[in-house]
Amino acid sequence: MRIAYVSPLPPLRTGIADYSAALLPYLARVFDRVDVYATERSDALADGLDVHPVGDLPERWRTYDLCVYHIGNNQSFHRSIYELALEYPGVVVLHDYFLHHLLAGLTIGSGDFRGYLREVAYARGAAGAELAYEAAVDWAHMPLFDEPLNSRLIDVSLGVLVHSRYAFRLAKSHHPGARIAYIPAPYGPEMPDDLSRDELGLPEGALLVTLAGMPNTAKRTDVVMQAIAALGSRFPQLRCAVIGDLLQGLGEPGVQDLDGRLLEIGYVPSLTRFLAFLNASDVIVNLRYPSVGEASALTLRAMALGKPVVVSNTGWYADLPSDVCVKLDHTFDDGEDAGRLADALADLLAHPDATRLMAERGRSYVQQEHNSERVASEYEAVLRAWRGALYG
């Protein structure tokens, strides 16, 4: 079976590039041919895989049994892939179930309101057109987390893959007639650099709570800051390490209240060094509300390293088993959420044995459920079945 695999690749700063880098070597073993089409040139793949520019796909797409398009919300990485997926339909992998950010960027972001109107009306008919006009009056009314804007892509595609059960349930309920399958996100294996806290510039003896990522209000960084500030008197050695640009644009009082407990690491370009920072942490916090149905590479990496993780009880995170991480309900009250997070962190830090057991269960869970080889086998089974349905 011949596959065209269309995705961003490392070194682009996107979890989807990492996903593909983890999965492709295993896919190459289970399919007769896998040609990779990337938005940027990449040398980060295993030998034996041909990487072509996405612009070469149109003249070759008929030579493949199926084209597999990886779609996320970042228009810089996914504009051309989205356009190809509509023009030359194949199997689409929805890394985010909600694509409203992508579609808004592709239309309104280019001054094309009519394009946005068409997409929202496609999804919701006349009511959608009204929503689009309301959004045009005040963009704060844009239903980013209410309307997924993925209907056109799902309708045109020969199959849809999602890597969260949450997204699978949503997709099945909205598109009962479509070919949709759930396949867990692949993980690694990845090895962190063998670096001590001292070598990483982190304080020895500190209780280190770490968060990481790019700026996004859905990551609730303000809530984490409030929780850390609240725990300061009870755990004087508590420090909060922030990897990436999460603090960018964050101006709420929580940051000032941290009183020297905040360690700004900044963006870490090397994955193995990034993993070393996670490995040196005591707890990883990765809150998310609202969720666009995405799986979290950060959560998988932290759990694979045997680190205790605190997540929001929403979207993909809600489907994680309750005994492998701490899941916090979203209350729509920042103060209440910060209090709950502070209680959860205090509980984890005060009971290291129970915390270690939970983290070990997390490690096993990732090794079993997200094993790249197993994920590649599931791709093979699903794509072969869909190929059979298509070609008989």
């Binding site: 008929r62 030579t63 049994d65 509509l86 030359y88 339909p89 194949g90 068409r118 009306a121 496609y122 919701r124 008919g125 006349a126 959608g128 057109a129 209907s151 056109r152 309708d155 045109v156 595609s157 020969l158 298509l390 070609y391």
Partner: protein
């Protein structure tokens, strides 16, 4: 404009910023409006709202219709892609069969 439904128009209540005599001005204008224009303008507003409601209904019908056509077109695009891929596989199969037939002929010769 009606704040609950932006498609409808309605009476705008009189107001006045004038100190002390503001309420008097408002009351006078209400009485004058009641005598001179209210019974003339209100039925026109009602007619206009009926018209706006119809325009809105037509607009919704057209938006729904365009969305349906768009969805049908998308389904056809998927079916076309399936058909093109199936034809490509049949062409490959045909080439295989032809080359096998050629080999068979050569063996026969």
């Amino acid at each position: 404009m009606n704040e609950h439904d932006p498609w409808m128009i309605g009476e705008v209540p009189f107001s006045s910023q004038a100190r002390y005599i503001g309420p008097l001005i408002v009351r006078f204008r209400q009485i004058w409006n009641g005598m001179s224009t209210r019974w003339y303008v209100l039925p026109m507003i009602q007619q206009l709202n009926v018209l706006l409601g119809r325009i809105r209904g037509r607009f919704a019908d057209v938006a729904d219709w365009i969305a349906r056509v768009d969805r049908d077109q998308t389904s056809l695009r998927r079916e076309l892609a399936e058909t093109r891929l199936q034809i490509a596989r049949l062409e490959e199969r045909l080439r295989e069969l032809e080359s096998r037939a050629d080999v068979g002929r050569e063996d026969g010769d």
